[in-house]
């Protein structure tokens, strides 16, 4: 067991596990965000629960941050090793004949998604942490002094999506995320050793997830941009 992370297969396994975890996180994030379209009250309730329940805040949130950083760092570690494996390239290559653009450009699509996550942290996460843990307002209310003022989460979401620049960046990032997932979802299962009679079915689920979930996030952003 020792030294498994030093082996090529062990590293890919770790990469795949972090990917599966992040894909699960993304799905639950989407499930909560889509509530904002159908039921602002439910969205507020769930957001408040997610933002104040200690298991999520103090256990799962650090795990998530570790997962993002690990996935990113390991991606670069693997890329560096892969580049070292061929220092002199070919004069002519026809890579499109045997592989997809998505599979060959995971670092590029991943880097754009990472840039978006950094912006997202600055935009959403840091103000949220500031309100709760620096200013000490755990009430989740629009006006902490007025218990009748209602939760602030839906109002903040709608306000954020007023900006066409933010919505534009959001759309671009999710298109790139979709391309990343079109290869990554299925690839994660291959890396953990799951290639069997269910693989073809899994490819269908992979495509549905990779297109459906990012498209759903884009829909939420556009919905709030154009309806408020």
């Amino acid at each position: 067991m020792s030294g498994i992370l030093n082996s090529s297969i062990g590293r890919k396994f770790a990469m795949a596990l972090s990917a599966l975890f992040l894909m699960f996180f993304l799905l639950q994030h989407f499930a909560i965000n889509i509530l904002s379209v159908f039921s602002p009250d439910t969205f507020n309730e769930v957001s408040h629960f997610m933002g104040t329940f200690w298991v999520i805040q103090y256990v799962l949130q650090p795990v998530l941050i570790f997962g993002v950083i690990f996935h990113f760092v390991m991606g670069f570690v693997l890329e560096i090793k892969n580049n070292k494996a061929r220092r002199i390239g070919y004069a002519k290559t026809s890579r499109a004949a045997n592989s997809t653009w998505m599979s060959r450009n995971m670092l590029l699509t991943g880097a754009v998604v990472l840039a978006f996550i950094v912006l997202h942290f600055i935009d959403f996460w840091i103000p949220e942490i500031n309100t709760k843990y620096i200013a000490g307002d755990m009430s989740g209310l629009i006006d902490p002094a007025n218990t009748e003022s209602g939760f602030r989460y839906y109002e903040e979401l709608v306000h954020k999506f007023h900006s066409p620049l933010r919505v534009g960046a959001y759309v671009i990032a999710f298109v790139l995320l979709s391309l990343h997932l079109l290869h990554g979802f299925n690839s994660a299962f291959q890396s953990v050793g799951a290639n069997n009679k269910y693989t073809n079915g899994l490819k269908g689920i992979s495509k549905a997830y990779a297109i459906g979930v990012p498209l759903g996030f884009v829909f939420i952003a556009l919905f709030h941009h154009f309806t408020h």
Partner: protein, 249 residues
């Protein structure tokens, strides 16, 4: 008959820098094999007093895995499931420019022109690509052991790997995982191979990593370009074998 422009990698020896050199070649028959076309070019070069192009070849019928040409950006050329020696000039047309390069990977250093050193594959095989059988005279007949048909077929398919290295040449990461996984699978699927399965996969993967091959990023290029159609399913099996062996070991 076709007139071609060949752009061929020429490198005097392992330490030479090497470069692409252009060779016009006329009167090429569409019925020639690709290697016969190179033979014709070499005959012309010899008659002119120049060094012929060095390239690997042996059986010339697609079973030995010796030929190793990267033709117009693809291992073994534009057709799938064949080796370079099985490629015919009818796959090209009059006036074509054809790039001919050696396999590119740090673990496959160029020896001369289009010949690369693939002994890294031999060392991986020596690390565990075998079964140990006592030949004391009372060895059990292998055919006496019942084997599930599905597993027998998959083991046979994996065993058709000829170790040519097209997987490494095609992979953007120069990964050898298709080759190693085929060798791991052909034994892992059979009862005779299971006795040494744990050590085999650990040692072969260790050797593969030490040789400097890249990681698999599941692009699938190796499977497309493999002349024997070795499946990516083997890489998933090797991953499973390796992970469970790591837990045991």
């Amino acid at each position: 008959m076709m007139n071609l422009t060949l752009k061929i990698w020429r490198q005097k020896n392992a330490s030479d820098k090497g470069q692409i050199v252009d060779y016009p070649l006329s009167g090429v028959s569409p019925d020639m094999s690709f290697l016969e076309m190179l033979d014709v070019l070499n005959q012309e070069l010899i008659e002119k007093g120049e060094q012929p192009v060095a390239f690997d070849h042996d059986c010339r019928e697609g079973i030995c895995g010796t030929c190793s040409l990267y033709i117009n950006g693809r291992a073994h050329g534009p057709q799938t499931k064949i080796t370079a020696c099985q490629l015919h000039m009818r796959s090209f047309k009059d006036g074509d420019t054809i790039y001919i390069e050696p396999w590119r990977a740090e673990a496959f250093p160029v020896v001369k022109d289009l010949i690369v050193d693939r002994t890294s594959f031999d060392r991986i095989q020596q690390a565990g690509g075998f079964i140990s059988v006592n030949t004391s005279g009372n060895t059990q007949d292998a055919n006496a052991i019942p084997i599930e048909k599905e597993n027998a077929d998959k083991a046979f398919d994996a065993a058709t790997c000829i170790g040519c290295g097209a997987c490494v040449a095609s992979c953007k990461n120069s990964s050898a995982m298709l080759f190693v996984s085929a060798k791991v699978s052909q034994f892992a699927l059979l009862p005779q191979g299971q006795v040494e399965a744990t050590d085999r996969v650990l040692n072969m993967v260790k050797q593969m990593d030490e040789e400097g091959f890249g990681n698999c990023t599941n692009t699938g290029a190796c499977e497309v370009e493999c002349p024997k159609g070795i499946s990516l399913e083997n890489i998933a099996r090797m991953n499973r074998e390796y992970l469970s062996a790591s837990l045991k070991g």
